[in-house]
Structures are given as structure tokens and as C-alpha cells.
Amino acid sequence: MKYIKLLITFVLTIVVFYALNTKLGAVPPIGKFLNPAGGVWQNETNEIIDGNVNIKGLSAPVTIHYDAQLIPHIFAQNDIDLYKAQGYITAKHRLWQMEFQTHAAAGRISEIIGSDGLTYDQTARRRGMGFGADQSLIKMQEDPETVTFLEAYRDGVNDYIASLDLKNLPVEYKLLDYKPEPWTTKKTALLLMYMTKMLAGGDDDLEYTNMLRKFGKERFDLLFPDFFDVNDPIIPKETDWSYIDVDMTKTPQGELPQDTITKTIVKPHPDNGSNNWAVSGAKSTTGNPILANDPHLGLKLPSIWFVMQLSTPEHNAMGATLPGALGVISGFNTHISWGETNATRDVLDWYKIEFKDETRTQYKYDGGWKNTTVRVEEIKIKGAATVLDSVIYTHHGPVTYDHNFMSDNEKAGYAMKWIGHAGGNNQRPFLDLNKAKSYDDYVDAIKHYTAPAQNFVFASTQGDIAIWIQGLFPNKWKGQGKFLLDGSNPDHDWQSYIPQAFNAHTKNPERGFVSSANQHPVDESYPFYVFNDGYETYRNRVINDFFNSKDKFSVEDFKNLHNNNYNLKAAELLPYMFETMDVSDLTSEEKKIYNQIKSWDFNNDIEKLGPSIWRVWWSKLYPMLWDEFESDEEALTSPYTYQSIYLMTNKPNDPFMDIIATSKKEDAHDLFLLSFIEAAKELLDWKSKNGDYNWQAYKSTRVDHLLQGIPAFSRYNLPIGGDASIVNATSETHGPSWRMIVEMSSPPKALGIYPGGQSGNPGSVYYDNFVDDWAIGKYHELNFMQSTTATDKIIATQTLNPSK
């Protein structure tokens, strides 16, 4: 009996130990997790931001002053110490995020979350994310100084990781039950790839291929013109391009492959985009140029941005950094300010590959056979066996689609040609911008920047303003890469790149301002082939109209423009709808909604009903209009909003207006009414469940934790207006991820805010303390310290000392 009892209690003890020490499904190892001495309770604290810390390899002490926003102001004696300190301090506040984002870039999410991440990971591998990072690293190694700084940053991060014991790990590690691995220089390259994928990783070539085959060239061009009938490009229309004296690539003879493609990989979110602008001294109320930037990205906690001041005796910069990359990315220094918007361009093409046989060791090229190489991707999965995926590489790039991935043909595939694989030292330009003193320095700094192409806006204390559309762009023949290309035809290869000096740019234009909002970079007069690959058509016109509306602009005007909720899209369609729609048969409830939207002033303000009605109405109208393109058998896409509205208002009787499922022949005006009735029904349903459909409630903007499915670490229902295609581009999950305004006085005066907080720890008050002010359109003054002497704005100071 004794022994049985002993055995039972022994087994019970083991079972309890196991159950409390093991992650079971989504539940963390609960004993470990709730242990007050080592688990999550240890994260219930603000960060320690004073005292002394010993760091290996520093050459002199580094002073870090923190202000009340928890912004670190780093004062180092030289660049190597500076970037080491940047690595250490960034890791101190954002370690988990840095590692998670670079794992995501590399396609290593399954290592953390298990087999749910496998599709994501495999797609990342098939895109050649790791391959691209390797290429970048090779390029970076050509510049020993970049390598030295990358290594200093790496060492700083690793010093911080080494200082952690288990109880100090960020809470996400405890929830998911894993540990950080050492930082590497490749991780910085991976982070830059992550940005390249987000901002230059989209295309519709395969969908366009299907559509061209299905509807013919004339109909295709009607749906997807290279230029819309309105265009307010980044570089003013009157620009003289006669200095461009290189030959354009000639269009080759020969056919494009007419394949039917059934399924394509996930595309970046269409709401990724940005605004930036600058006014000259002459157009500024104070006589100093003023510059603004607001990158629209996924709204996440921890934020993609981390604000820092980075200072040595030689240079002093401040602004938004990307955890994982060195230097300030969008910011200012003593002499200049700069910011970026995404410069969309077709830098991703697909080539049809014909393999010689099923071994896939050779593919057809230039009348012969060319050898492939293989990159074996090892995808480790938490709690399951490792998956190996052999990705075939051609001279174009990885064969993303083959019989192992989204296709079933053993002897053919589609290879990706992508600027992300071209290699590039895209760290260096930012380090040089941090130190730049003039327009010439700025141009030199960005010269070698390749991807993701950006519209770099610039202003200086010397009074210059400028914008360069900078990236490495293929010099394409007209039409090249809009559709699937023939991978065996050398004429279909990218022939050359546009010489950097001929990238579109403007300095001190006559109109006294520069701006960009992801619109067309140029008009038709620019000699190189640029087609509309998703250019924005609304924000740019509102911004440029604003700057053309009066002579002088102040910082206050800039704030108002950031927070401008004018819905030009709705304003261009609704009056036409009201005019042409027959509303005599609407029910009284429908009529009430109709009158609500009719009295709307086209501003997407939080208390208004109009924006919600417009949103639902459009969401019904758009798929009703393009019902022709709903297909399970092949990948199709629908025209951009601008062209959709253009066709409805200019060709209301076009056959595309018809709803193919009905026997009646509908025109655009019928669609307005039908979609309105559906919208009214949905709104009434919504109202009965959720109450008043004012724009704040209906849109319900949120800032999610990076790990989806942790509402407790996220913020919901924020009181912010706007929407995609509006200058205040805040949709449900995307929007101004950083708002900055810099006046180029000496020293510059700057405002900045982002929807998050400096701390990555949900247990810190600094985790999300900017969110409320951000939502209501407030800014925080950025305290650009001019010397290392602490002022009354500094709440704590930490010193990093060289350890012996």
C-alpha cells in the first residue's frame, strides 16, 4: 500500500511539473509564466534608465539622456561607440520586436509559433528573402566602414542580450516560451529586406497576363491605362528632360507567354504608402523652409519606429529609427532634414521558365540550355519536423512557382526577377544622411540607394528644398514587365538600369514647394518607361491644391494638412451618383440614409455618418462593377479606384457595367441604386448590433500587437478620422505610423509623434503612451539637445562605460 501511494504521488508530482512547465497550445508554461520571481510578473515594471552600465569594446563613456517621452539622446565620442550604443539601447527597449521582424523577413516564424507559420515562411523563402539579404551583405562588405558600424551595432545588441537573465526576458518570449538568439549583421540586411518586401514587393503581372488574354489589349488598356486622365506628378509637369541623352531600350519582337495562372502569392497591403512635403523659405511664414513626413504603414505595437537622438562631436541627428537598422531613417540634423515616401515602380517581374526535364537542372535560354542552381531552404517548426524546400534559381532569380508551390507543372515554373535580389548597401545612405550638411551631401548620400525606392524629400537651413525619386530602376522597353515575360528570350531580360543622374528629381522648384504621396513620379514627357503600377491619385491632388492655395505656410498649416480628412474620392463620385440615380422607390429607412449622405461635406471626421455610408456603399458598388473578374479558376484583379470612377462617370453604358449573373442589362446608374440598397441594409444591420454608425465607431481604428491575436496588448476604437486615399490616411489598421514636422531654423525645431510608445514592454507606461495624442492629431516637441549637458527636460541619465 505504502509503495502504491508513493508511486501515485510520485507520478502526480511529475504530471503537475510537466503540465506547469510546458507550453500547451496557446497557453504558456503556466507555472514558469506566473512565477513571481521569474515569470511575467518580473515584466511588471518601467525600464531602468539611470546608473552606469559596463560595455565591452567602447572607447569612451557614452551618455544617454532620457526625456519625459523616454526618447534616448545618445552622446558618444565617435561613430563606432555611437552605433554600438544605438544597438544596445534599441535592444534594451525593443529586443523582441527586432528579432521577430527579422525572423519574419527570413521566413522563420514557424520556429516561434509552430506550423501555423509554415505558409508564411515558405512564401518568404520562395520570394528569396534570405537570398536577397545575402546579396545585400555581399554588397555591404565592399564598404569596410559600413561593416565596422554594422558590427558595432551587432555587438551592442548582443551586449544587451548577454546582460539578460531569464527573468528579464521581454514578455513575448515568456508567452511563447523561447529565448533570443545573438544578433548578426545579416539581421540588419534582413530588416532592410523586410522593408523592401513591404514597399516594393507587389505586382499584378500574372493577374494582368490573365486579363490581357481574356479581354484583349484594347479592353485591357481601358481598364489599366499607363496614365490616368488626371496626373499631378511628384516632379512638376513643366520639367525639362532634354538633358537625358541615353538610348531607351527598344521593344523586341516576339510573343509574350499566354499562360493561365490560377493562384499568386500574398501581396503587400495596399494601404502602405506615405506623404512628405517641404516648402521653401519664401513660402514659409517664418522664412525658414519647413518639411514634413508621415509614412503610412501597418499600425503596430511595438511601433515600427523608435525615436532617438544620435550625436557625436562631428554630427548630431534626431528622428525616427527602425529597430534593427543604424542611424535615423526619417529625421533631421543640425543642417538638413529629410523624409521618405514609397516610390512605387515596377521592379518585380515574372519569367516563364521551361525546364529541360523533370530533374530541373537546366532551363531553356537563348536557343540553348542554361544550368539552374538550388538553394535548400530549411524551415524549422516548433513542435514538428523540419520542412526542407528546394528552391530552384535561374539567372532571373528564384523559381517561386513550380510543382512544389502553387503550381503542378513539373517541367515549367515562373521565376521572379526582383530588385530586392540585386544586392545593395541600403544602410550606408542613411548613415550619410545623418551627417549631411548641404544639398550636395544629401545627393551624394542617396546616390547608391537601390531599394525599396523612395521619394527622398529634403530641406536645409541654407534654404534649399528638393525631392529625389531614388532607387535602382530597370530601363525597360515600353510595356516590359507589365505581363509575364519569356524566360528563354534574352531580349526579355532587364537590359540596363536608368543611370542614377537621370532619376527624376527637382531642386527649389518655382512653385516653392515639393511633395509626394505615392503618385505618379512624372508625366508622359519623362523619357523612360514608367507605367501606373498602383500610383495613388487622391492624396497628392489635395496636398498640391493646398500648397497652391496661398502664399505662405506655417507649422500650424502643416499640422492641419496632416490631419486633413477631405475625401476627394467620394467628392468625385457622389455628386454624379446623386444626379443620376433614381431614388423614387427607396423605402423611408433607405431614404433617411440617402439624405444623411447627401448632406455630408466629404470630410471623414469621426462624428460624421457620411463616411461610413460612403465606405459601405463603395464596398458594395466596386465588386458589383467588377463582377466580371471574380474567378476561382484564374487569378484576376480589378482596376484601380480612379479608373473605376472614371469609367462609371464617363462610360456609364460600357458592357463592363452589366452584372453578368442577371438577365437584365445594367448600366452604371443601376449599379448605384442596387449597391445603395445593399449598403443601406448592411448599415441597418450594423446599427441594430453596434449602435450609431458614426465614422469612429464604424471604422474603429486599432493598433495591434505584432503577434496577431493578443488584443490585451493592443489598442482599439481610436478617435481618429481619415481613411485610405485621404491625406490623414488612417484606415482600420494602417495609417500615419510617424508624423514629423521640422522647421529649418538654426538649430531646427521639430515635432513628432507615432501611434505607440518608446517601450516594447506592455508592462511599461511608455508602451502606448503616444497613442491617444496621436489619434487626436497632437504632436510632441522633439527635444533636439545641442550639448551633452542635461537640461530640465531630462528625467534620467544613464552612462555606458568601457569595461576593462
Partner: protein, 118 residues
């Protein structure tokens, strides 16, 4: 008997407190086990005295930490665990988990001590 209960209670907490400084969470299982070996109790007390000891240790410890930080994180973790966002419920759960671990290992300790004494 009450005296023995009190001794076991105090000794369990002291061992747990010391071991928690350098051992992982299962230090409370060691504490429950060791005190059961040396301060043998009777019947339900075998489980409930160490349970209550560690319940007090963990919940008071958790309370002190989170009270000092306005329960910022514990409210969120309580929401995450669908405990209604109430930090006190999370503190209670923490105490129960720790107590359970200590109580169960004490049962084993008690059986083993009976064997050794024989």
C-alpha cells in the same frame, strides 16, 4: 499539531523564498517536498499547509510587484487569460498555481518520508 502546521508553513515559505533567488519556478515544488520530508503533517494538512504557504508567498509577491506598477501589465495578462482584466483574479490564479505545485510535491514528500522512517 497546530505548532507543527505552523512550522511546516513557515519552513516551506523560507525554503521557497531562498530557492526562488536562483532556481526556476519549480523551487516551490522543492520547498513543498523538502518541508514534507522533515516536518511531516497529517491528513489534509499534508497538502493544504504547503499549498497555503506558497499561495501566500506567490500571491503576496505578485501583489507587491504589480501594486508598485499600478497593475499595468497584470491587467493586460488578466485580459489575455480571459480573467476579465481584473489583476486580483490573476494574482489569485498565480497563488493557486504555486500552491498546487507545492501541495502535490508535499504529498510525494510525505510518502517518501514515511518510507524512510520505516
Amino acid at each position: 499539531m497546530i505548532k507543527k502546521n505552523i512550522i511546516n508553513f513557515v519552513v516551506t515559505i523560507i525554503i521557497a523564498l531562498i530557492l526562488s533567488q536562483f532556481l526556476p519556478w519549480w523551487s516551490v515544488m522543492v520547498a513543498g517536498f523538502v518541508s514534507a520530508l522533515f516536518f511531516s503533517l497529517k491528513k489534509a494538512a499534508v497538502f493544504f499547509i504547503p499549498f497555503f504557504a506558497i499561495f501566500c508567498f506567490w500571491s503576496i509577491y505578485a501583489f507587491i510587484i504589480s501594486n508598485g506598477n499600478d497593475f499595468t501589465l497584470s491587467k493586460k495578462i488578466s485580459t489575455l487569460f480571459t480573467l476579465g482584466g481584473n489583476p486580483y483574479v490573476l494574482i489569485l490564479v498565480t497563488g493557486i498555481i504555486g500552491g498546487l505545485a507545492a501541495g502535490v510535491s508535499a504529498l510525494f514528500g510525505k510518502q517518501l518520508s514515511g518510507l524512510v522512517k520505516r
